[in-house]
Symmetry: C2
Subunit: 135 residues, 2 copies
DNA sequence: TTATTTGCAAAAACTTTGCTGATAA
DNA sequence: TTATCAGCAAAGTTTTTGCAAATAA
């Protein structure tokens, strides 16, 4: 795998991201450094980097795929209003995998736990909206 | 909400399904009873029925959305090879929601736990493939 | 009767891919 | 030098939507 300038910036931008951007969100950020980069390049690199386990593709709900600069498995929380995804600072619960040994003869490989909720920014927005309604 | 013939068949077909079909899979099954039905109608009805909590839209990984005739929350296992989704016969773990109270001021509403693995049919296919290689 | 729903087709949203010129090693 | 990669644009996949005709209640 060659370390092209584009790949370097994509990786750097994802690693520094505090959220878990979609391909398009990351494209917008990378574009500020590389105005000529194309969305296809971002998609291709995210795929390659995830394959190499340098980053991870997040396996959860929501319309679009999201990416995480941290390749270690961990849990996420997703805002049902704006789609934002953050880390949950709790380690993997190993006991969970054994729970699922029973069903239908599946060979269990992994599990994904995702919390859903309202992020601070959307809670704030909700309050403002509510206050407006009262006024 | 009117109980149209289309809606009735869609619901019946989903309730009787042992798997958790995508909109298109369900469309193919419903088509056998109603050859003139359109995919758009299936999508619209699944949306309405999920809104009414008669069914549920499954919020997990994989490319396409899947639907479940059982509106009660429960966990699923997904085959990473063929995408098939089955139920995991284990009740909801209430303790999980409180785990996530810490992060970033999110207001937690729910959680989704998905196991990934290989379904019996794909395990079988894998073996056949392997035997073929050996021969 | 009439508000809701359907079928159809077009569009939207998201992602992948083929090709040609550019480039890292 | 050359296998890999980028940019561009076209195409693929999945889901949503506008509209006129049909229909449940």
């Amino acid at each position: 795998m060659r370390m092209t300038h584009q790949r370097e910036i994509i990786l750097q931008e994802l690693k520094m991201a505090k959220d878990h951007p979609t391909a398009d969100e990351l494209f917008q950020r990378v574009r500020k450094h590389l105005p000529k980069i194309s969305l296809g390049t971002v998609y291709r690199n995210l795929e390659i980097l995830a394959e190499a386990q340098t980053i991870q593709k997040i396996e959860v709900g929501g319309r679009q795929k999201r990416f995480d600069g941290n390749p270690m498995p961990h849990y996420h929380v997703r805002c049902v209003q704006c789609g934002r995804v953050d880390d949950v600072p709790v380690g993997r619960i190993k006991a969970l995998d054994s729970m699922a040994l029973k069903p239908h003869g599946y060979k269990i490989l992994d599990h994904h736990l995702e919390f859903t909720g309202i992020c601070p920014a959307c809670q704030e927005k909700g309050l403002l909206q509510h206050n407006k309604t009262l006024t």
